[in-house]
Every structure is written in C-alpha cells, then in structure tokens.
C-alpha cells in the first residue's frame, strides 16, 4: 500500500474514478508552468532532493590540516491541498448521478495548480525556490492595463532574448487578468491572442498565480522542474458525513539560465 492510503478510503472504485477524473480535468487547464518548462521525473515519494552539483566549504574539520566541503542540494517541497466530499454525494454518484458536488475538489485543484505556477514563476523563498521572474537577468517590462500595447511589449521581450543569444520559439505565461483582457480584444481585426502567438512562435497559456506575464525560452534546459511524487490524490480520514482527501505533490524547481526569460510586470 502506498503512502496515499487510498485503499483505506470507505468509497467505491467508481468513486475513486470519479474523483481522479475530475481532478485531472480541473488541474490540466491551470498547470501553466508544466506547459512551458522542462519536467523531469516523477522520481517517486522517496525522492528527497535535487542534486545541484555545488558545494559549501566547511571551515571546521574534525582534525587539523584537512579540507572539507558539503554537498548542496535543493530539498523537495511537499504541497498538499485538502478537501472533503459528502458521503451522500459519493453514494449518489454510485447510483449514477452525473451532477455529484465536487466543488471542494475543484477548489483544491485550482489552489495547488496556482501554487505550483506561483512557485515556478515568482518563487517560494521559504522552500528555497527562486522563480523565473526573480531570477531573470533581463530588465522587466511594464505590462500595464492597455492590452493594445501588449504586442509591442512582448516583441520587446523577444528582442531582449534574441540579444542575449536565446533563440525562439518562446512561450508566454499570462496571468488571469491580462489573459482575459487579451481574449476580449482584437488587434487590426485579428484576435490579439493569435497576434501574440505569432510574435512568440510558441505556446501562450493562461497562468493562474502569475502576476502580469512572463516570456520564457522554449529551447529546453533553461527552467527545470524536478518531480518527486507527481500530483496524486490521497485519503486522510472520514466521519459519518464526509470523506477527507488531499491532492499532493513533491517537487523542486530551479532556473539554469537567468537570461532566458523576461518578466512583464503588471
């Protein structure tokens, strides 16, 4: 039995299928970072750290006239989003109901996807993660509210990447607010979304958790997401009314090429 303790949940296999499918459907559109960066693994729950290949000198040694260093690693962070589902709803699902209330699962899926995006693009200091926007050595470009100016901003970001020797295609992670503005706008009789896609030559993704937008290289090897346990659903506890579950994952993230991204600040 895995650490997820799924076999202990007092629910049917059909209910597990319902929950897993709903989680996949809700997570997939929101996991923006995975659509733009390198993903290694999953390496499993027992994976505790990513090798950085770096060392820290140790001045004190147990015996004189020795030199010592200590290996540096990036420790895996475990993210967990708890949620509960009413047992009556799951029983109705077993009877064939097609409108089972899974709102709490949907909200948990959005939370964990948003957190993953935020850690990748804006960092997570407590977890030792530096985000793409923080790490970027390129000067940030102001995005602003007027999305008719966005093509110019994105083109400027692309030009900065080319100057740094970072070839295309590029990807664009757009925070929810600018994404909505872009969706609603035409540029010269042409949808702005398509116009931006042509400028970057790669994917443009809706990125909950991102503030403003980030243009990133798509050549590979620049932004490294290392997955321990990939997104999974585990069982926590239950009472007479509800079953408590959680969505969990473990990962690290690091930027290998700081010049391979340009932040477009809101």
């Amino acid at each position: 039995m895995s650490h997820l303790l799924r076999e202990h949940a007092p629910i049917t296999e059909a209910s597990w299928g319902l929950i897993d499918n709903e989680a996949r459907e809700r997570l997939t559109p929101a996991l923006a970072a995975r659509k733009l960066i390198d993903f290694a693994g999953p390496h499993g729950w027992k994976r505790s750290a990513t090798n950085l290949g770096r060392t820290t000198p140790l001045v004190d040694t147990p015996v004189d006239a020795l030199q010592a260093v200590q290996r540096r690693v990036l420790a895996m962070v475990e993210l967990r989003a708890p949620f509960s589902i009413a047992r009556s709803e799951l029983r109705d699902g077993d009877r064939g109901a097609d409108d089972v209330d899974l709102a709490a699962l949907d909200a948990a899926a959005h939370r964990i996807a948003t957190a993953e995006n935020r850690a990748v693009f804006h960092g997570w200091p407590a977890a030792g993660i530096t985000g793409i926007a923080q790490a970027s050595s390129q000067e940030a470009i102001g995005l602003g509210q007027d999305c008719t100016l966005y093509p110019g901003h994105v083109a400027k970001a692309v030009e900065a990447l080319l100057h740094a020797g970072i070839e295309g295609p590029y990807g664009l992670a757009l925070g929810p607010e600018p994404y909505t503005r872009v969706l609603e706008t035409e540029h010269g009789g042409y949808p702005l979304l398509e116009h931006l896609r042509k400028i970057i030559g790669g994917p443009l993704v809706w990125a909950p958790g991102v503030e403003g937008a980030v243009v990133v290289s798509q050549r590979g090897g620049d932004f490294l997401f290392d997955s321990g346990e990939d997104l999974s659903i585990g069982y926590d506890r239950h009472d007479v009314d509800a079953v408590a579950f959680y969505i969990v994952e473990s990962f690290t993230f690091r930027v290998a090429t700081p010049e391979a991204a340009v932040a477009l600040s809101p």
Binding site: R34, K35, H43, S232
Partner: protein
Amino acid sequence: MGFDQYHEPPAELPEQTRTFARLCASLTEEAEAIGWYEQRIAVESDRAAVAIMRDAQGEEFKHFAMDLEFLLRRTPLWREIAAGILFQEGDIVEHGEEAEEEAIEGAAARGEPMVGSTSLGIGSMRAAGS
C-alpha cells in the same frame, strides 16, 4: 480451482489489478497448453490425431495472443518494450536491452507515472517539439 494467481490477498487488490492477474494466469495456461500440444504432436503417429491436435494448438496460439494483447494495452511501458523486441530480425537479447532502456528513459522524460504509481499521471504538459 483456487485463487493462486494472486500473490497478495485478493481483497486488498484493486479490481483492475485482479483482472490483470487473471489474464496473466490465462497467458501462462495458454503457453503451457501450447507446449503440451507440441510434445503430444511430437510423439503421436496417428495423422488424424495429429491434425486435431494441431488445430487445438492453433486455438491456444490465438488465446495466447489475445491475452498478451490485452495485457500490453493495459501496460504502456510493457507494450513499448515488447514493440522493440517482437517481430524484429536480429539479436533478441540486444533488442531487449535497447527496448528496455529506451522505453524507461522515454517514459521518465515524458513525465509518465512510475510503474505501480497511483498518481493522476499528468506529468509534463509541454507539446512535443516545443
């Protein structure tokens, strides 16, 4: 018949794993039957009896192939490794080593779940070639 296709307590196994174990047991039985018919045919002198047994063995070939295809469809990594070995000319062991290495490395690179994992199997979402 007992339940000796299970190595673990059946009640603790998910339904799909029980089905998988049944088909593995069936595959084994078909392979045994193919071997038995081969031996019987080798020692039988009556041509009519041999013809019947060849016909029966053909059924076992079919059953074996159907069992195998079912199992491969349920196990993408097994399928990928098998594809590198089955119906290929050349050194079987060499093909096996290469197919295993390529399939496992390829699955990890695509962010596919580890064998036996109960994750949601989302992994990498980058479009191929991007």
